[in-house]
Symmetry: none
């Protein structure tokens, strides 16, 4: 296994110019947008630098970047004010001068005309384009995108506002790069999404089974009960595809029960698709998660086809009244118990007349723990269309928020397992 850098892929450096982002006043979204748009073309972001709008620094960083890579992309700093230094900084760094362009000027004038505003003189700089290169028209703003083309090295400047940048990336940047850099589709890769298993367990299996494949790139990402694994090979040819298929078989063989998706589907989407295929419906009864499970399920557009709703039973009374949990059950076993979880699951199923019922009851903390039921103790139960409940107890680490999120992941996974008729979770 090697790290994810591939020598064949073209790399670029992204420079985000903006005091607002650097000072934490604005959230950057350009890195994710640009990187995820260019990665599929075989263009990998080697590094992203967020810097302020001082021209001297910007010029220096662009020069440095050009010693490392063939392509540098700069966002922001193309407006008409003194803070907008990118146009000049790139000209200095590349030695390519700027010249007023008649088409660019006509577009700028037309834009001001259409808004019924008078164009002040400081705006004229936005009609300047590199003498060697080209420019991207900006139908959503005043500053065009600029391409400074030195032959072996290219610097591209894009406007900062997202509503100008995003259409320009799609309409201009991608087609330009495909033509100019003669891009073909690069590496082949496969993604695997697991739930209810630790990152280190996945890592260990991958090392044991695929550790000998020297040109295989492995990347792992863990997040609250979910683990994403990506396997990549340098070339996109039939041999790579066949090898990845074999690896996928290995992964499925070893970790199949934890694998909920091989596309970019979320666990909520996977479960939703399974319900949709079966024309099944679902309702939920939530205690400690307080609505989070419903929120996750309904984050999927169109969830109303299979999701009927739920009850947030944050009090014992609500469990009795709305979920028909027996007063005696609560008295004898407590709100966080196998018995209560099962009655909640069956209760919501019957009151919503849904095919499936899911229930979560637990102690999310920081208060409310006892020696027998410490903070993080959660009972989850799923009631199937026959009214048979599948409960399990689990002890989660972490804070209130982590316990609540993990509870929802495990509840969704229990439903997924039952829908797929694979071994459900159970209390050992």
């Amino acid at each position: 296994m090697e790290s994810s850098e591939k020598p064949q892929a073209l790399e670029y450096i992204l420079i985000l110019s903006g005091e607002e982002i650097l000072a934490g006043r604005n959230q950057d979204r350009h890195l994710q947008y640009i990187s995820s748009s260019l990665t599929p073309l075989g263009l990998l972001c080697r590094r992203c630098e967020v810097i302020g709008d001082k021209k001297i620094y910007l010029t220096k960083y662009i020069r440095n970047a050009l010693t490392e890579v063939k392509l540098v992309i700069v966002t922001g700093g193309l407006g008409p004010t003194v803070d907008d230094v990118s146009r000049e900084a790139i000209a200095e760094a590349t030695g390519i001068v700027l010249k007023e362009h008649s088409t660019a000027l006509a577009m700028l004038e037309e834009r001001f005309r259409s808004f019924g505003r008078k164009m002040t003189e400081n705006n004229l700089c936005q009609a300047l384009v590199p003498v060697s290169g080209t420019f991207f028209p900006n139908p959503n703003g005043t500053a065009p995108g600029l391409v400074y083309d030195k032959g072996k090295k290219i610097v591209i400047a894009l406007p900062g506002p997202p509503r100008e940048l995003i259409p320009m990336v799609k309409t201009n940047l991608i087609p330009f790069l495909q033509g100019r850099l003669k891009l073909k589709r690069p590496a082949s890769s496969r993604s695997f999404h697991f739930c209810c298993i630790g990152e280190s367990n996945v890592d260990q299996i991958v090392r044991e089974k695929l550790g000998g494949e020297t040109d295989l790139t492995v990347s792992l990402l863990a997040q609250l009960g979910l683990v994403n694994l990506t396997l990549s090979l340098p070339d996109d040819n039939q041999e790579s595809q066949e090898r990845l298929s074999r690896y996928a078989d290995t992964i499925r063989g070893e970790l199949g029960t934890f694998l909920y998706s091989e596309t970019d589907e979320t666990l909520e989407q996977t479960v939703g698709e399974l319900l949709k295929q079966r024309l099944d419906t679902l309702s939920v009864a939530e205690s400690c998660t307080g609505g989070l499970l419903g929120e996750k399920i309904t984050s999927v557009p169109g969830a109303s086809i299979y999701f009927l709703g739920g009850v947030i039973s944050y009090s014992n009374r609500a469990k009795e009244t709305h979920l028909k949990v027996n007063t005696e059950t609560l008295r004898i076993h407590g709100a966080v118990s196998r018995e209560t979880a099962c009655e909640m699951a069956r209760g919501i199923q019957s009151t919503f007349q849904s095919r499936w019922g899911v229930a979560i009851t637990g102690i999310a903390g920081p208060e409310g723990g006892t020696p027998e039921k410490p903070v993080g103790t959660v009972w989850i139960a799923v009631s199937d269309p026959n009214g048979k409940a599948f409960p399990f107890r689990i002890q989660f680490p972490g804070d209130r928020d982590a316990i609540r999120h993990r509870s929802c992941i495990f509840a969704l996974d229990q439903l997924r397992r039952l829908l797929l008729k694979i071994d459900p979770h159970s209390t050992s």
Copy 2:
């Protein structure tokens, strides 16, 4: 008003290590969080670099950064897998070796024990700490934060997952930096938290009313229906305190109805406190938000004192059965209407026997919009202890997620206004 850069300020460089962020698979939020947390201490981010998980590059960038500034902060790459190279890269760059620490090891073992998982050997690296420096315990994960202290230069490594990083910044990083760098609480400052008002409206008022105060630093941060304003003066003395008190009076006078907190209380906490003080109780009826409002309310520990629960009525049937919404109301006015919102609010109030009832019904999209009720149309109603409902319609911009979040903010704010007996939102 001056910009937030102060010549006295210390600068640091932030290095985010993560292929996932660089490849655009994950959205970075660390830059904004760390930068906005450290700026008030007088620590300014000079540059932020996002790089992959190749040790050789990371080492190089840390070395470069240390030639420019005294403090370098690295996030990510502290886990147990082969991708996690920060620990070693910083050791190489600083020349400070790592050694197993008995306390760190004990914490690590305890964490695995509490999770009921066996600790695999690859995890042991997470008990290594710099021989010169210290470490920050991580109650929310396995990897502690690491401080490599060379005397004149310091490199600090923080874990990548936000739920581990954020508490560590608050609990450990800030106090550590204050002590180690002898930061005098640089300035005196006041924070104001607004909801249901635009950032530019707050900005405008502050400029109009306080624009003449030359040594006043103003920082604004906006996020989905919420705006945070911080006013800072350079010195922490009585005069500054008195001036800030006057400014606070001005802000309250101009924007009082939108101001929900002058501490770091969230809107959910503010509303929870108001309910607690009045010994009032609450239940919620959610349609398009699918549980998100309940989730927000119950994210506050101890919410069970005032929050009885709710119904997620994701289908018309659920609105009729569980919230007693009239079939005729739904037929004539539709599920997204003033009438349905009011009946939902009264319905949940009566079925849960709570003092207050809150209801949200709307079109979160992307499907389901009509010319009269486009995506983003939301009706919110709060029913007061007399059963009087206060409905309003609002049209939100943004995607499904933004619409759902903003709906909850406005619903909570309506309740806050009614509890405080200030003008409720209404449809004009």
